[in-house]
């Protein structure tokens, strides 16, 4: 274990993340973890890490990191870093600085280090969940540690490693997301079910890791229900007809009816949709 990076600027936010927590929802603990699990896995694979090793998750822009040791680093997801293109890994000398800029297309970027980052685990995960008081975010000047081993000549005569093109994601400004009926699908009016797939939706700027609000239309509310479990990707409709997608840090139970749930395979892609991305939903069935 050795210091590998120093936070010069946190930008719009950075936390250490992994695959999150499983099995604790019944106590009210959200799964958490990297918002885009595919991005996390690919960054780790570039360095030969376990695929769920802790990575640094960077939100959108402004972050700066100083490299403290000669090492390979990998980046994936929706970030834009001048020194390290997304979906690739390369060697850095101690003293180099990584700059993340606003040119990014997605919301979340993932930086992996050899062996993964070292951080305290709560319920077997390093995932920081500030809403639940689990862990804390990173601060300027903080040093991050890699599990290692850090071998400068790990990939001799290799200048850059890349994720296979089929596994590299792009984040176009128009996206299609597939839906399955939610538990209360039948109690919504046919017009609301139609509006969900005929309208053009955008993630509201008033969104966070617990939930993405959808702008683009008002749905007819359905009768309220007794609080029941809520899974990530559920589209809840409030009493005002506002649609909110519960994300990985959202409450584990809730009383709003759920019209739909995003297909698991599309949830990483949806998580990368920032304000401005136009979203077209498509109904699929069980």
């Amino acid at each position: 274990m050795m210091p590998i990076l120093e936070v010069i600027s946190v930008g719009s936010g950075m936390t250490l993340q992994d695959s999150g927590r499983s099995g604790w929802r019944r106590f009210g603990v959200a799964p958490g973890g990297a918002m885009d699990q595919h991005g996390m896995v690919q960054a780790n694979r570039l360095l030969g890490n376990l695929q769920h090793a802790p990575v640094l998750e960077l939100m959108r822009q402004g972050a700066q990191l100083k490299v403290l040791a000669d090492t390979w680093l990998a980046l994936s997801g929706g970030g834009f870093c001048a020194e390290l293109p997304a979906w690739s890994a390369r060697f850095f000398e101690a003293g180099s600085v990584l700059h993340f800029s606003e040119l990014s297309e997605g919301l979340w970027a993932y930086l992996a280090v050899p062996g993964g980052f070292v951080a305290p685990k709560y319920f077997e995960s390093v995932s920081v969940d500030t809403r639940s008081g689990i862990g804390s975010g990173l601060k300027q000047g903080e040093r991050l540690y890699a599990k290692g081993p850090i071998i400068a000549g790990q990939y001799p005569r290799v200048r850059q490693r890349q994720v296979h093109p089929d596994l590299q994601k792009v984040y176009p400004d128009e996206q299609q997301i597939r839906l399955l009926p939610g538990p209360q699908y039948d109690s919504f009016a046919a017009d609301s079910r139609r509006l969900l797939v005929e309208g053009l939706w955008q993630v509201s700027p008033r969104s966070d890791r617990t939930g993405y609000r959808l702008d683009g239309g008002v749905l007819e509310p359905a009768p309220s229900i007794h609080s029941e479990p809520v899974i990530s990707g559920s589209i809840q409709v409030t009493t005002d007809g506002l649609a909110i997608v519960t994300m990985r840090y959202g409450p584990t139970v809730g009383g709003y009816p759920k019209i739909a749930v995003i297909r698991e395979a599309d949830l990483d892609q949806f998580a990368q949709c920032g304000p401005g991305t136009r979203i077209k939903f498509i109904w699929e069935h069980y």
Binding site: S22, G23, W24, R25, R26, F27, G28, V29, P120, K121, Y122, F123, E124, R131, S132, G133, I134, G135, L180, P181, G182, P183, H226, S227, E228, P229, I231, G233, S234, P251, T252, V253, G254, K258, V261, R263, E264, Y286
Partner: protein
Amino acid sequence: MGDFKTIRYGERGLLVCDLSFEIRIRLESCAENQSLPWLQEVVPGYDSLLFLMQSENCLPALVRWLSAQDLSAQWDDSDRGILEVPVCYNGPDLRTVAEAIQCSVETVIELHSSAEYRVRMMGFTPGFPYLDGLPERLHLPRRGSPRNHIKPGTVAIGGSHAGIYSVASPGGWNLLGETDLRLFQPEKSRGDVDGSEAAFHLRVGDRIRFVSIGEFAL
């Protein structure tokens, strides 16, 4: 034989609905005690139980398992001890609640602390208990506008439930007092997974009574 109303919920979820408290608790403990290989986790709702499977392919195994459950035997947990929650009744909404039901603050405290409660489910935040058993006179709507910051340990009522805030959070319930019990201690989950349950003071099904340890000082 089990005959349950179920709804699909996402690829890996099956929601079992319209369960009585007793049946829900027994079905949950059956699932947890059998270490079923196809099951990722079960999550209780108010009158529902969500089964999250390891993969969508496990659905037939889950449906078979559900139909084989026999919950007809008598169930009795009256020998389960009652946990006491010490409360200092100094909450900012005591007077509002008293005015709403046209009684004195002392009566509000008396009503709240004389009832026996049961942890119906947990959620909202880690370790937050939704408590059944609130006397009907105290069933009041939530506040029109939620507060931004409520301290952990704050004892509150909302609708037909009583609760205790477990972490600092926003919230719309009426606040009656505070306890120094820590309902959620994440630092106790730092070790191995089997010990991590120690992070929670309460379990679903626990019986609870509030005990006044101090009068309001407003």
